[in-house]
Structure formats: C-alpha cells, structure tokens
C-alpha cells in the first residue's frame, strides 16, 4: 500500500516470547526499509492462529494511515478494529475509530450495538478494503455465502449496501484509486503496419 510516498505492509515479528505487529515501510527514493510501531494495545499478538488474523494496511488516498486489525481472542471470539494514525509517524497518535466484536454467531459494534442485519454464521468479521477520501469505509461483508460491498459512514451512523454478489475469482478483492494514463505508450508498437501504409500512400500522392 502506497502512503505518503512510501510502501507499507502489515508485518509481524517474533521478539523474545511473543509476536509483535508492526508496519514495515520502504522508501523508494533512498531504498531504505523502516518500521512504524503500533499502539501498545494492539501490537502484541499472543497466539497467532492463522493468516486471517493480522494487521492490514488499508488502501486510501488522503486520509490518515489506516490499519485494520483482526485479532482472534478465544473460543471463536474476535475483534476487528479500524485504527488511524492521525499524525504520520507519531505512535501516540494512533486512534481506534471503529470496532466489530464477533463471535461465531453474531457481530456487534461500538456504533450500532448488536446488528441483526449483518448477523452471520461463518464467524468471520467484515473485511475492510478501502478508506475513501470522504471518510467512509468500504467493507466486504459475507453473509450466507454471498459477499456484498458495504459503505460505513461513521459520522452518520449508516452501513449501507453498495453492491450485492461480489463473486470473486480468487480470494483477494482489491479496491484502489485508478487514474487513466498513457504510461508505456512509448513501448507501443502494433501500429507499424498502419503507419507503413500511410507512408506509402503519401509517397504516391
């Protein structure tokens, strides 16, 4: 994930007796790696159960650095939290803006309380995909085997469905900003025959 001109990955490392989450950065100009520490309350990971737990850096453009943490606690109980780093690079500025609490049977949240609308059976929390420039968060929510894209607006307290049935060919759904461009056009060659034709034509006239 590119943010602030640097690449960011959610990463974990084994220090002494437990795993710690951190954010690995790479500066393309100096080609140097770095680390950003997380807030104390969510950087330590006692029992990594599988790859679905972890810390994910979320795609965004203008918003503060956003991280989604999926933490398995015990007996199928998980928390999924959205954290933003209000001042980039300042560990103290990590701020938890939203949390889902998930058990095997239901999801509740700090904003909505128990929400029967996103009740589910799989026990897996919604996946945060994108932090949009207007501040809303795009989640992929799985329910009854079908995925939908939902938009969470914390300031208005809404969690609306944008698209039903995102059927995925692979496990990874990617959302990002895209700007059409002509980059690589310099390498573009298949028009040679057309050009040749025009060239011959102009030669004859």
């Amino acid at each position: 994930m590119v943010y602030n001109g640097l690449l960011h990955w959610g990463a974990k490392k084994w220090v002494e007796d437990r795993w710690y989450y951190f954010i690995l950065t790479f500066d393309p100009q100096s080609e140097v790696f770095g680390e950003i520490l997380l807030a104390d309350s969510f950087q330590a990971l006692y029992h990594p159960v599988n790859d679905k737990n972890g810390v994910f850096v979320v795609q965004n453009s203008t918003k503060p650095l956003t991280v989604y943490s999926l933490i398995f606690l015990d007996e199928g109980y998980r928390t999924a939290s959205v954290w933003v780093m209000d001042r980039y690079g300042i560990t103290e500025s990590w701020n938890q803006i939203f949390t889902f609490n998930c058990t095997n049977n239901y999801i509740s949240s700090t904003l909505f309380g128990f929400n029967p609308d996103i009740h589910m059976h799989v026990g897996f929390p919604p996946l945060l995909l994108f932090h949009r420039s207007d501040g809303t968060l795009l989640f992929e929510v799985e329910f009854n085997g079908q995925s939908s894209l939902r938009c969470l607006d914390i300031s208005h307290g809404t969690f609306t469905i944008l698209t039903h049935n995102i059927r995925r060919r692979s496990k990874d759904l990617y959302i990002g900003y895209y700007y059409p461009s002509l980059v690589f056009l310099t390498k573009f060659l298949p028009l040679v025959s057309v050009m040749l034709y025009i060239y011959i034509y102009s030669f004859m006239t």
């Binding site: 994930m1 790859d51 059409p180 461009s181 002509l182 056009l185 050009m195």
Partner: protein, 182 residues
C-alpha cells in the same frame, strides 16, 4: 490524407490532445508519423498525465474488472478490457500507480495499462515457492517503477503444531528484491 490540418502550432495541437481521453489519443497516433512520435513521447505522456490527475475512479477487481465513479453509490463507469484475456491472471493486485496495474500470477508479475491495452511481464524465479512473499509496487516518477519483493526468512519460520500453519517474520533488511523499470 487530403484532410488539411488547420494551421495550428504543434504545441497548440498537443495542448488540445492533452485534454483528450487515452483511447482517443491512441486513435490519433495513426494520423501521421509526426503525430505518432509526438504522442508517444515522454513529454506528451507526462503533459497528458498532469491534466488527468484529478479524475479518480475506484478500481474493483472482481469477476468483471470495473471502474466505478467515486460517488455515493459507486456508479459503474467503465469495464476494463485487459489484453491477453486468455491468461489466468490469478487476480492478485499488488498495486496501482499512474494508471498501471501491477498484478501477481503464479509465474510472473504483470504490468498492465488497460487504456492502451499494453501489458508486459517480469518473470519470477520460482526456486523457492514454499516461502511466502510480499510485494509492493511504487513509482519514482512517471517513468520509473519499483517492485519490492520481500522474502520471508526461513530462520524465522515458526511452525504452529495446532493449526499446521507457517508463520513468518518479514525480514526488512535481507533478501529484498528491487526491480527498476525506466
């Protein structure tokens, strides 16, 4: 070729072209030898890019790879046509920079510009596929791109007998692999 161009300076023509969508530019490339060489020049590409920077679309990779307007309802804007559609992309998007989508397949890394239907690949060394790699894609300007590949370090692999899973420490300093495209 009997269409006589109005007497506009080349610079004025390029200024007009720089406001046009990418697909139209590709069509204008056959206008003349001169136009082709001007339109594919790095100078024009960056001039065109600066004009189009404010148009943002949400790219969604699902069964149909689509562009959506970044509005309240994510209105569908355009479906992208990828070159080499017979290939299995694997659909793992590493990143998007300056209109270039960087994707990972099980054999290589692809760079795709769907607007001009151009694609080229970077072969991967599949010598140790049991390791988990993380990739990153970033630009250092319009004509300089980096792909960063981070190898998980074998020494730090941790085997969890309960879940039968490997857990890896991503090594920040060793085995990082940087590829530069200019």
């Amino acid at each position: 070729m009997s269409i006589s161009l109005p007497i506009l300076s080349i610079d004025l023509q390029l200024e007009i072209f720089s406001y046009l969508p990418c697909k139209t530019i590709v069509r204008f490339m056959v206008l003349s030898h001169l136009h082709r060489s001007l339109l594919i020049s790095p100078y024009f590409i960056s001039r065109h890019h600066n004009k189009s920077c404010n148009k943002s679309f949400v790219f969604l990779s699902s069964s149909i790879t689509s562009l959506y307007k970044d509005d309240d309802h994510l209105t569908l804007f355009q479906n992208l046509m990828f070159p080499f559609v017979h290939r299995n992309f694997g659909n793992i998007v590493i990143g998007i920079c300056n209109g270039i989508i960087c994707m990972q397949t099980n054999r290589d890394i692809l760079f795709i510009n769907p607007m001009i239907r151009y694609c080229f690949d970077l072969p991967l060394h599949d010598d140790d596929d049991e390791f988990i790699y993380s990739y990153g894609f970033i630009s250092r300007g319009l004509f300089d791109y980096l792909v960063v590949k981070i190898n998980s370090e074998a020494n730090y692999c941790y085997y969890d007998s309960d879940g039968g899973e490997f857990h890896t420490y991503i090594s920040p300093s060793r085995n990082a692999w940087v590829y530069t495209y200019v």
